[in-house]
Amino acid sequence: MSQPLRPLVFQILLILNEEERHGYGIMKAVNERTGRKTILGPATLYRTLGQMRDGGLIDETPTDDERRRVYTLSAAGRRTARAEAERMASLVERARTGQLIG
């Protein structure tokens, strides 16, 4: 089984799977989805984005506005996200067969 992803990395992959976004857009989306329980700030966001780009999970495209880069999901990113989702699904399945949840 593949190694579990950091939750923030997985969240970002899920968000970029829907549509491409710039950095602040990702930040807002993460904060909305986690119900503002964990507030994501710019330093953590861009540090993680840098790592994901270096790891080949996402692609960075510069736009006309120099200060706004747009991030898209790469093929490797899509595969990794799918693997993580399947890993989670199998965990959930196991919880279901163990009648932990309905």
Partner: protein, 891 residues
Amino acid sequence: MSPSARWYGRILRFGPASLRREFGDDMVAAFDAMVADERASRRALPRLRVWTRVLTDLLLSTLHSFRGQSSLYRIPNKRPPMESRFQDLRFALRTMRRQPLFAIVAMTTIAIGVGATATIFSIANGLLLRAPAGVRNSDELVSVHRVASDDTGFHSFSLPSFRHLSAADSGLTDLAAYDSFGGSLVLDGTPYRVAGSIVSANYFAAVGVQPAIGRFFYPSEDTVPGRDLVAVISDQMWQERFAGSPDVVGRELALNGRGFTVVGVAEPGFVGHLAALVNQVWVPVSAQGLIRGETDLSEEEASLAVELVARLAPGSSARLVRDALDRAGQAFHEPRDEDWYGVDVFAYAPIVPIARQGLNWFLAAMFVVAGVLLTITAVNVANMMLSRAAARSREIGVRLALGATRGRLVTQLLTESVLLFLCGGALGALLTVWTTGLLGSISLPIPIPLDLHFAPDLRVLGFALAVAATAGTVFGLSPALHATRGDLTGALKENGTPPRRRQRLRSVLVVTQVACSALLLVVAGLLIRSAGRITSLDLGLDTNNVHAFLIDTQDANRSVDESRRFYRTLTENAARFPGVESIGAIDVPPLTGSNQQSTALLPDLPPEPGVGARTVEFAQVSPGYLSTMRIPLVAGRHLDDADTAETPGVVIVNEHLANTFWPGESAIGKRFAFRTADEPIDLEVVGVARDSKIRTPGDDARPLVYGHWEQFGGRSYTVVARVEDPVVAVMIRDHVRELDPILPPAQPIVYADLVGLSLLPSKIATILATVFGIAGLALAALGLYGLLAYSVLQRSHEIGVRMALGARSAAVRRMVVRDGLRLTVIGLALGLLAAAGLGRLIRWMLFGLSPFDAVTFISIAALLLTIAAIACWLPARRAAATNPVNALRAE
């Protein structure tokens, strides 16, 4: 880019360099976007929220990158992190127990710094943040003000204007009007002074208060002027005057000579929505004219004004409200040919709106002073930790050599310093219980009930701990980083030479320490010197033996004519009392911080550019006033009893006005007019008085006109009497009661106490700055000695070599002192520069003293240099006495 975003960009330099290089611009842009989003969400303190978030985020991110956490995957922890956190905590506690003296000294030092900052925060909390009891969901409340022609805010509205605005659709659930009044309440034949407010019927709903018993006002009760005489009283008054009896509802209250029926009692604790002011009774706005004793009750005619407080409807915002009210106001005022410059809408704060700006300045200055003291204490503790880290360098060296990561050791050392600071912070919060108790016990020498609540609450505790934790991180990080950076071989050797960086850090600490002390001491010195000057200041008048009686015949609902007769009889009769040297009256007593202005139209003089007329200070006085206050005439004659409402208007002007309006000419016989609502009042100058201070003892000279009280007519005067014996003052008070039994008792106030009122902010500032200054000086002296002594100790090897090579001990002493003083001078220069900058912030509290007062600056510089010289000389003597053999043997 906003200025705060620019600051964020600068702060990013303290984070990981790679992150800033690559994403700095994006992060700054994100910061701006966050601020914009927070603003749009209409929650309180948007900027503060963003700052807290980004700073925590940056700190965590920096720590993560220190620990090398860069994986995209979850790192399987060898040990659960919580456990290692606990281990750090246990270890920190053990270190503290092992060196209890170190811990106690450090914590006490921190407690002083944090306590000072938290005390100032408590004042801000009590006056700006904490809504008074009974006020609900205060984050939805806004205060609405009219903007005046000169673009200044905080002006009130006329009643018709309020009624029109409240009918407009403006995104508010309630727009309520209020205005305070002082009055006389007669209960069982005894008059009491009460403070109350005139409010619109929806006021209680807007603020969120419930009745304890009975009801609040019906909307119909605040519409027809003078028809519905109903009142709501405070729970406090209900308990004190009516013993909490429920049949108070329906009782009649004799308020300012009119019978008001009590319809309800406000919930316990509620005494109004503004801090510090205690209301005992509320009446509907429609009773405003009546309670003020106006003869014409029609709202269109009466010159009555109200302040507005409002509750935002869900989804609305201050900006939307402002735009809507702007339009509504324009639609109302334009057809009537009245000026309309729009409204200002501010988030609600418990302080009286007009005092808000002054308070902000005061708090800003005090926060800087307290922050400087905090820095001094934190530098002291950082130095102590640095010394201890040096003593522990072997332990740290061994652990590094055995394979502990640097991040792990930094975390552990940081845990120690943050724990130390948190304990100190908690002590500091305890300290505020005492300091705020002192501040809350301030009472005013005037009969206005004040209710100052500065007692620390959870917010203050949270603030103290947050400040402590931040200081612990900031001032613990450098020693921790330095302690773990050393070269291993050096650290493992006995008595290894200290790394150069550590010496540099110490130099930075010395410079910071000196700079902060200089800043603090200069501010304290300026305030103390200015406080000393007040007593020796030439005020232009003599308040010794003068007693003041604040009387307002509106309290007894007297007409202007009745008032005129009352005051004339009072002053004429009292002047004949044995022991009364002289007696007079003035409507706006000088040196109490208040003033009134009028517009003078000068026929022979071109008006001020763009103004069309000249603004002058104006006071109505009785003929005896000037001689009672011993303000001499330099030309012309006094006002006298022969001048009456029927004779031509005459005034006395001060020298400043005479010299400004008619330079080089005699002012006697000159004419000018006062612009009024109806037609200009024509006036002739009959006398010139010496200049005297008007608003505060530190006031600049201003043009002033003394008008004859009979020729203007008012109902509120301060009667001043020069009497040797205070018993005579009591006789005058009793005579007031004989003349008008309904008037609340006019207690004699020593005039100097009244002056003290306008000096209150600067007095508080002086006390705080003095206490902070003394604490700062003691801490700085100790800290400087510690820092300098330690750096000499560190150089004992170098000194040994120099002496072995033939340096004389006198030369060594000189060298050590010179090095120490060099740092002191740099710190001093920085501190004095900062003090010169801060001087502008406290200028208004310095009575005529320049914020760049050379005496203060030079004596503080000399003081600090002396302390530094002693702090250097003692260790220098020891260093020069070093036996070179011993020093070198350590190698």
